[in-house]
């Protein structure tokens, strides 16, 4: 994976010193809270309900075992012994004291980590799929361009006070596992017949109060123009994006107001001025960064492993875990493994304890090349596990509560921290997730249902990506009490769709029954191996509504 060079070290260390000074000035009241606010946000620091929350960047979701151990150290020394992995592949610590933040950042800088631009109205953490570099359906490795973008967007002086936050994601595989179409800029990487690396540029996606999927603004952009093209988009947005209303300030609103053609013309006109200038990437730079992502020393293995085959045949629980929690690897004899952070009632989605983090670091060293990934579904990926080791890994993961065989199933809930922590939330998320997980604890039934994504956000800001869940749950405030609006039919990936609201909101207590009703309707109507979202698309909302609102205890 990418290693810092002298420039990266200097920048991150200087940033720690700069923020230490800013914190001290705030504590001495030389900086007002208003002046301090954007500074702390751009260093990942929010003020939540109970304490400060620090969001640490995990660039495109990749981290080394030693970095995971550093996160465990932060959890233990500076927080309450755990952290929360987010839908932006980052980690949040929820119980942080302002005075200690510079020390945390200094510790993280020692392992090449930072919290720069994990919040604020600037370019946020660049994301790509958790299986980058290993997925069997990958067209090419998206990480070099992700890293190049990360560097370019870090403390880029012109674009630190944009109208609103700005999120960029890349995908370079057949299947889009990076939710590219809900980003301000989405980049699909591919090669043409001559082998040249090209970009399909999408723009104007975003969830929040006005969910919109992105539209294509450019096809076949040569990779060398990546930075100049993104610069052109950002400059047009910085100049013309709305600043009068934070709910209308994302680029999606500007794109919608102008129309994609007019917006594209603006970008094209700006880009013509800069496209052949010094921002044009060089092969040398690409290679320099790509060298950091060369494949680890894989062994030459047979695709079939006798011991693995035997274990699969003899242990049905293991076989079930393998069927849900592993992904085909591009190298024969290896698998990418997803360790679920969704055990159910014992821990909220995405929460991992310091002990688990240390265990994860150990597992990454024992069963791989000391590397881990964070998926935007908030799970942990071990990218390079020999199939011959899967059984031992499964047993070791089970010992620390990380072997729940539910990836992609109804209980693999995506949830934001919600009203238990977040100052913005209208309603709690975690108890809803746990109530659903508790209701659906029959693994046979869950596996029979197949892939159903269930995403929960505690407010309109949509950190839990509820719009693109097959089932989405949104916390809403009605006269000071917490209610939940339900959508169905949302999807991520290349066939992204926004879910549709099924009707009036429900109380927290009703939600498990509502989910039950939705799922039962699905099993009544599904044809053959059809997935939940396909059934919704085929039969529409009505049968689901009828079932859910028919029950007497649910108000019609």
């Amino acid at each position: 994976m990418y290693q810092y060079d002298e420039y990266d070290h200097v920048l991150v260390n200087e940033r720690v010193a700069q923020f230490r000074d800013q914190v001290e000035r705030r504590l001495r009241d030389e900086l007002s809270e208003e002046e301090f606010l954007p500074l702390r946000l751009q260093n990942g620091l929010y003020l939540q309900k109970h304490a400060y929350m620090l969001r640490v960047a995990i660039p495109y979701g990749t981290l080394a075992a030693r970095q995971m151990r550093a996160l465990a150290h932060v959890a233990r020394q500076y927080d309450r012994g755990y952290g929360h992995f987010t839908t932006r592949q980052n980690i949040q610590f929820n119980w942080i004291e302002l005075e200690r933040v510079p020390d945390i950042l200094e510790h993280l800088a020692g392992v090449e980590m930072h919290a720069i631009q994990t919040s604020g109205n600037c370019v946020r953490n660049i994301t790509t799929e958790a299986f980058a570099g290993v997925a069997a359906d990958e067209l090419l490795d998206p990480r070099p361009l992700a890293e190049i973008l990360r560097q370019w967007s870090t403390i880029n002086p012109e674009f630190l006070y944009l109208p609103r936050k700005f999120k960029i994601a890349l995908c370079a595989a057949e299947e889009d596992r990076a939710a590219v179409m809900m980003h301000d800029i989405g980049l699909y990487l591919y090669r043409d017949e001559a082998g040249e690396l090209l970009l399909r540029v999408m723009v104007g996606g975003g969830l929040g109060r006005t969910p919109i999927l992105s539209q294509q603004i450019r096809e076949a952009l040569p990779w060398r123009h990546l930075l100049s093209y993104v610069e052109a988009v950002l400059r047009v947005y910085n100049r013309h994006g709305r600043r009068d209303n934070k709910y209308k300030a994302r680029i999606k609103i500007l794109v919608k107001a102008l129309g994609i053609e007019a917006f594209a013309r603006e970008v094209e006109a700006e880009w013509q001025h800069i496209k052949d200038g010094p921002a044009e990437l060089t092969q040398e730079e690409y290679q320099r960064v790509a060298d950091a992502f060369v494949a680890p020393p894989y062994e030459q293995l047979s695709e079939l492993d006798l011991g693995f085959g035997t274990a699969l045949a003899q242990d049905a629980e293991f076989a079930r875990w393998v069927s849900r929690n592993t992904l085909a690897h591009k190298v024969p004899g290896y698998s990418a493994v997803v360790l679920s952070t969704k055990p159910g009632i014992s821990a909220p989605p995405g929460d991992v304890t310091a002990e688990q983090m240390e265990a994860l670091a150990d597992l990454a060293e024992r069963f791989g090349f000391a590397e881990l990934r964070i998926a935007h579904e908030q799970n942990i990926v071990l990218p390079d596990v020999r199939k011959a080791d899967l059984y031992a890994l499964w047993q070791a993961a089970a010992e620390v509560g990380l072997a729940t065989p539910n990836i992609g199933l109804l209980t693999d809930v995506i949830a934001c921290p919600g009203g238990d922590f977040c100052a913005l939330a209208n309603a709690k998320s975690i108890p809803i997730a746990q109530a659903i997980q508790q209701r659906f604890d029959d693994l046979d039934y869950l596996h029979d249902l197949g892939n159903i994504s269930l995403n929960i956000s505690g407010c309109m800001n949509a950190c839990g990506h509820h719009h693109i869940g097959n089932i989405g749950i949104l916390g809403v405030d009605k006269n000071g009490s917490e209610w939940y609006q339900v959508t169905i039919g949302g999807a991520q990936g290349k066939a992204s769709a926004l879910g549709k609201v099924i009707g009036p909101a429900f109380s927290a207590a009703q939600i498990p029954d509502v989910i039950d009703g939705l799922v039962r309707t699905f099993t009544d109507y599904r044809e053959a191996e059809e997935g939940f979202v396909d059934t919704v698309q085929r039969i529409g909302l009505e049968p689901f509504k009828e079932e859910v609102y028919r029950k007497p205890q649910v108000p019609a």
Partner: protein, 170 residues
């Protein structure tokens, strides 16, 4: 203006006797000495010869965030200085305006940040092409001076360093 920092050949100094005064709108009473005024006021006050770019203007212009920098193009030869307003330090439009004035329109004269100009944004302003900083009057200009240098590493490019880091690596 008070509380002014200026860069001369890249070296900052605090200017104590700056003659420029910022004119808010036309209704303000006339003041002595050179003035910086909003674009519409500036246009209204210039002689025909200035507007034809045949005669230097005595007045500086101050761009608001909504103003198009391109509209200044005909007047660049006759403008004594340009100010760009930060109505709030959180409004980042002035960064792009400054960048465009320097790199696209080739403005080489004074480019002054006015308004909510604070220590912790000065280095970004400098990198985007500002060379004068009218620090908000309730703030210490000596303190603000510490914010001008910023970080020693800039990955991307800027008005004062058009090459991204990957073209500067040794």
């Amino acid at each position: 203006m008070n509380n002014l920092i200026r860069l001369l050949d890249g070296t900052p100094s605090i200017v104590c006797n700056d003659p420029w005064q910022l004119l808010g709108d036309v209704t303000e009473p006339a003041v002595q000495g050179p003035q910086i005024m909003p674009l519409n006021v500036w246009l209204a006050r210039q002689d025909e010869a200035v507007l034809r770019a045949e005669q230097a203007s005595a007045d500086g212009v101050c761009l608001a965030p909504d103003d198009e920098v391109e509209s200044l193009r005909p007047y660049l030869p006759v403008l004594p200085m340009i100010a760009i307003a930060f109505p709030s330090f959180r409004d980042g439009r002035a960064y792009s305006q400054a960048y465009l004035l320097r790199t696209r329109l080739g403005w080489t004269g004074e480019l002054r940040a006015v308004g909510d100009v604070l220590r912790d944004q000065l280095s970004h302003m400098r990198q985007c092409g500002f060379d004068a900083f009218a620090v908000r009057e309730d703030k210490s200009v000596e303190d603000a001076l510490k914010g001008l240098a910023g970080m020693s590493v800039v990955y991307g490019r800027s008005a004062i360093e058009p090459r991204p880091l990957f073209r500067r690596r040794v």
